[in-house]
């Protein structure tokens, strides 16, 4: 399991490259590796953009005989007030195309999000082999 603090932009690239490597080590296909890395890039970038501090945890797991990669995005940012709204495609805030959450969800096999306004957000995604 590795933990990467997202402090500057290069950490986004580092996080997604590590996720890719974890997936490569588990024998994921090119398509699946890319989906995972792209989702990690989106979610890590959110931390960089919207939270003052945060980290990404990447771990290889085994569940029901399948192997997978789980990535957790934990930040101490402002939190998301209306989770349903941000999970809708087309929602946009700030100067970006939206939080990229629905896209990241589509790229993942499992997606869960918890957020408390004023405290932070915790997102977990899993990609199964």
């Amino acid at each position: 399991m590795i933990r990467i603090k997202i402090i500057d932009e290069d950490d986004i690239i580092y996080a997604r490259s590590e996720a890719r490597q974890f997936a490569e080590a588990e024998g994921f296909s090119l398509m699946e590796k890319t989906r995972l890395a792209t989702a990690v890039s989106e979610l890590a970038r959110n931390i960089y953009r919207y939270a003052t501090s945060g980290q990404v945890e990447i771990e290889a797991i085994n569940g029901e005989g399948k192997c997978g990669i789980v990535c957790r995005f934990i930040d101490q940012g402002p939190g998301i007030e209306n989770i349903e709204q941000v999970m809708e495609d087309g929602f946009s805030s700030g100067n970006s195309l939206g939080f990229g959450l629905p896209g990241a969800k589509r790229l993942s096999d499992h997606f869960s999000i918890k957020s408390v306004v004023g405290q932070g957000t915790h997102i977990e995604i899993i990609k199964w082999k």
Partner: protein
Amino acid sequence: MKNIPVLKLGSILFLTVPENMNDAMAQYLEEDVLQQLHKTGAEAVVIDISSLEIIDSFMARVITETVQTTKVMGARIVVVGMSSVATITLLELGLDMSDIETAMDLESGLHKLGYRLQTIK
């Protein structure tokens, strides 16, 4: 901070997007293209993205905005070298890239811009 080199060939500008471009470099990308267009009066631009393994929404936005501003400046522009895997993830991210003209490789890109390669004997 290194700028991305913009090559000029006739009335075409070529640039290759480096693998791990970040926010700072991205600003320069669009800026450089526009400056060069203005300076040289080039008619067409080819952006090569074949070194990008991963195209997230940030990168997609950089590309789309560069394309849009180039068109506003009156030049034609084509994006070449999109990998099949990146294409699929872009669609899954739900990004609308319908405005941009793409081609599988440099030669098809030039075709689309209306140029042909000819050997001079």
